[in-house]
Amino acid sequence: MGSALAFKGIENTMVLYHGSQGCSTYMRLHLAHHFREPVDIASSSLSEKGAVYGGRENLKKGLRNVINRYNPKVIGVATTCLAETIGDDVPAIIREFKEEEGIGDDPEKDIIIISVSTPSYGESHVSGYIKALEAVVRKFAENQGEERAIKIPNGKLNLIPVESLSPADVREIKEILEATAGNFIFLPDISETFDAPLRDDLPKIAPGGTSISEIADMPNSRASLGLGIVSKNLALEYLEGYYGVPGHSVPIPIGLSNTDNFFTELVNIFGCPIPDKYQAERGRLLDAMVDVHKYLYGVKAAVYGDPDLVFSLTTFMLELGMHPVLVATGSKSRDFGMKIRQIFKEIRPELEPVVLDGIDFDSLNDAVSDCNPDILIGNSNGRYIAKARDIPLVRVGLPIHDRVGAQRILTVGYKGSLELLDRITNTILEATDTFTAPVQAEPAAYASQGTEEECME
């Protein structure tokens, strides 16, 4: 699924899962619920025959049909458990397919087919996302062939997150970059593709996304800025290792210090001043933090979700005086616990959180029982835990399928942090509000009194 999130942020791209039909259907369902957009993902629809004799023909047929029906510029081919296990050599099949169809390697006129190995038993959707981005960057860089040696500096900044941000988040970061840095390449840009306006027609592939020429231009950039510090940013490392594009990583800019870091990094790279608009937004965030500090102080929270999102949320909560008692992620990550403990040490060394990685919701449920938080912060999958324990849940991350507006949830930048702060505070206020409707005397009592009086008269 991670790979689909990455591919869908590239202009005119289709995704094909090499595997059985269900893999694409369930992923489509999951993403459609979350973004409330059509999510077309093709499948090579492997059947028993394919599973036994190999999926070569199915994959080729699938690719052919996708090209015929959707006419994409790029096709991302992601493998599933089945395809990986039966041992299909996907790159070889694609090479064969291209030869058969006469597809060359010219990014100008040919269809680019990018394959990435993403079996579910490998890792989580986070690694699928990271791997797909790396595959994309690598493919376009390699396609330039001989020109690779000659770098034409474009003065741009590559921006590559390690986890899928919401369309609103992507828009906010792009706006910040426009105001400060000017030239940048954001990969992958899902701000339009997963949050498309209603149009007269239904385009086969949602417009928007990072353009192919931009991706091809990434090796020429002056620097790359990675968002997220827990997971490895493979695309960024590739660009640095092969093309000498200096790479810096900052936490996803949620909360005061993380956003400060983000802006500081921009200033360092571009030597630009911080626009007044953002200083004012920062001031407003500070003002709000002061206004609500007593509502949040010592509120015990359990945070869960993708590692870097959780890292940034935890930082923010510590800055607010909240007490994150449980910090958890479903991804297996060695660095997660280390980074989380480090941030506790920096901000509130006296607190001792429970930090878990690679857990499921049952273990999360047990951990929540042990830690006894006042509030849950994470995706919709925690709603059973929240309901069972009768504590509120603030929805952040992916998936959020039981509420509307997931694509518009803004959490990054000073503005997004402020919105998140308001949401968390209001959720707590809603849960702790002591307001009760006034108790009035029974109307029946009046009625009887009235008749009595009448009788007396």
Partner: protein, 547 residues
């Protein structure tokens, strides 16, 4: 440039209202008890508001505001006074006077409103508040209320609270005047001499608690203490009171007055009229709770009651002491600013802060009298600024100059503190947690802790993002975590980066020194002050430690 004369830069006419703590025996050169200066942005409200806050907690009364809609609308359900039963008081009734009523008089509209409300709610009492405009156009409130009382056979009481008629204290008086009419002459067998010296063994003595408005349920934490002591609490005025319980008030043997500003007037009247003596008391903070219980037991002269009081105090104190000590460790030495409506609360807060190991650097009230300020002056340390009827600009400057860490006041003051990066605790009517009694004091301590020790204050010290400072800070944090060799450097850097620019008012060095001056004598005096009450053997005394 104009030369600065006073403690803060303010209007010349306001200077006499701000002073510092005086030496013992000296009269305090502080002007007070006057009408607010036009244009000075007083934090006070009007006569009507004074009456409204005092009377509104009467739960089963219909509170009808005769005036334009604003007077009722802005005071609708603003006081967190809780009720244990009916909550008619939480609706805000208004005659909604329009231009035409102002021209032709609102009397008819008022009597119609009363009739309608009686039909709808059958209240045991209706309070009719007059507002500015009613006073000006001269509606005869008294006559209408009299007629209505006769027609409906319930008390319909005018509250003469025309906004312009004085200040908030006059509103308290207007409210007390209305309450007076509700208090019935007690039946013969209960009435008579109330002097305990005559009959020391008063069986089941009865008391009233005056000036507790049951904000957030305060009274519910206090009443049981007195009941355990063997006294019957007839009514607390006006928190969680009803027309019926108020009417029985004259059966009491003793009145305990907490909010002296609003209720001393009523207590004096009850003493004169029914021979009921009164004691001033406060139920906030361990010292004052102890004082209140002991004084009451002392008054009734019953040994059993005295024993009971000690038991209650011991259990209560032992129960909350661990938590109070914990908070005390976290907040001691911090500097508090107090700005309250009435002086009673301000005085009791001084003790409360002492119990938490904090010191008071600014203290002010909206409605204090000369004697109140003298008492306040005696209770605080040297250098403390005392202010009457302060305005936002003065408060802001004082908070900065006196280097306050926390302010205790109401909503209007809250955001002054916040903008200056100073912690805040609401001790006014829209708080939602109890502050009185043993558990209330724990709530208060926790709130003070939460506000002072929130990490947001560290964040707001740097108001604009300076990337260079960020870099330094990050390097320093790294250093700190990897080991402590550059701890000092980090500290220097933090000072450099985080000192808020605007918090350096152009103070001359002398003024600054004056502010920081903390003479030792006086502190010693406070420390050695003879305890007002016997210290039981449990744990450490909270309030005199650490001086």
């Amino acid at each position: 440039m104009k030369e600065k004369a006073g403690i803060v830069d303010t209007l010349e006419e306001r200077q006499p209202y701000i002073t510092r703590k005086q030496e013992k025996g000296q009269t305090i050169p502080l002007a007070c008890d006057n009408n607010s200066l036009a244009g000075a942005i007083s934090q006070r409200a009007c006569v009507y508001s004074g009456a409204r806050v005092v009377l509104n907690p009467v739960t089963d009364a219909v509170h009808l505001v005769h005036g334009p809609i604003g007077c009722a609308g802005y005071t609708w359900d603003i006081r967190g006074a809780k009720s244990s039963g009916i909550e008619t008081n939480r609706s805000s009734f208004s005659t909604d006077m329009k231009e035409i009523d102002v021209i032709f008089g609102g009397e008819k509209k008022l009597s119609n409103a009363i009739d309608e409300l009686v039909g709808l709610y059958h209240p045991p009492v209706i309070f009719v508040y007059s507002t500015c405009i009613v006073g000006i156009i001269g509606d005869d409130l008294e006559a209408i209320c009299n007629t209505a009382s006769q027609n409906h056979n319930i008390p319909v009481l005018p509250v003469k609270s025309e906004g312009f008629k004085g200040n908030k204290s006059d509103g308290y008086k207007a409210a007390c005047d209305a309450l007076k009419k509700l208090i019935k002459i007690p039946p013969k067998e209960v009435a008579g001499e109330k002097k305990p010296e005559v009959s020391p063994e008063v069986r089941n003595p009865k008391i009233n608690i005056l000036g507790d408005f049951n904000v957030a349920g305060d009274v519910w934490l206090i009443k049981p203490l007195f009941e355990q002591m063997g006294t019957e609490v007839i009514v607390s005025m006006t928190g969680d009171s009803t027309a019926k319980s108020i009417s029985r008030a004259a059966e009491a043997d003793l009145n305990l007055v907490q909010c002296s500003g609003s209720m001393t007037y009523l207590a004096k009247w009850m003493q004169k009229e029914y021979g009921i003596p009164y004691l001033s008391a406060s139920f906030f903070g361990i010292e004052d709770i102890s004082l209140a219980l002991r004084k009451t037991a002392e008054y009734f002269g019953s040994e059993e009651m005295k024993k009971k009081a000690e038991e209650i105090l011991e259990t209560g104190t032992n129960r909350i002491m661990p938590e109070i000590s914990r908070v005390r460790e976290r907040v001691k030495g911090k500097r508090a600013a107090i700005y309250m409506g009435g002086p009673a609360k301000a005085l009791t807060l001084i003790k409360g802060f002492a119990e938490l190991g904090m010191e008071v650097v600014i203290i002010g009230t909206q409605t204090g009298q000369k004697e109140d300020y003298e008492q306040i002056s005696y209770s605080v340390r040297n250098g403390t600024v005392i202010v009457d009827d302060a305005n936002p600009l003065e408060l802001a400057e004082l908070l900065v100059k006196q280097k306050a860490d926390l302010m205790v006041a109401g909503v209007k003051e809250r955001f002054i503190a916040y903008k200056l990066g100073i912690a805040f605790c609401d001790f006014n009517h829209d708080r939602v947690v109890e502050f009185e009694g043993f558990d209330g004091f724990v709530n208060f301590a926790r709130e003070v802790d939460a506000s002072i020790n929130s990490p947001v204050w560290k964040a707001v010290r740097q108001r604009t993002l300076k990337p260079e400072a960020m870099e330094l800070k990050r390097a320093a944090v790294k250093e700190r975590i990897s080991g402590e060799p550059h701890a000092k450097e980090y500290k220097d850097m933090e000072d450099m980066a985080v000192e808020p620019e605007f918090l350096h008012p152009k103070l001359d060095a002398a003024a600054e020194n004056q502010v920081l001056e903390r003479p030792q004598d006086d502190e010693m005096e406070l420390c050695n002050r003879k305890p007002l009450y016997h210290v039981p053997a449990y744990g450490k005394r909270p309030c005199f430690q650490g001086y």
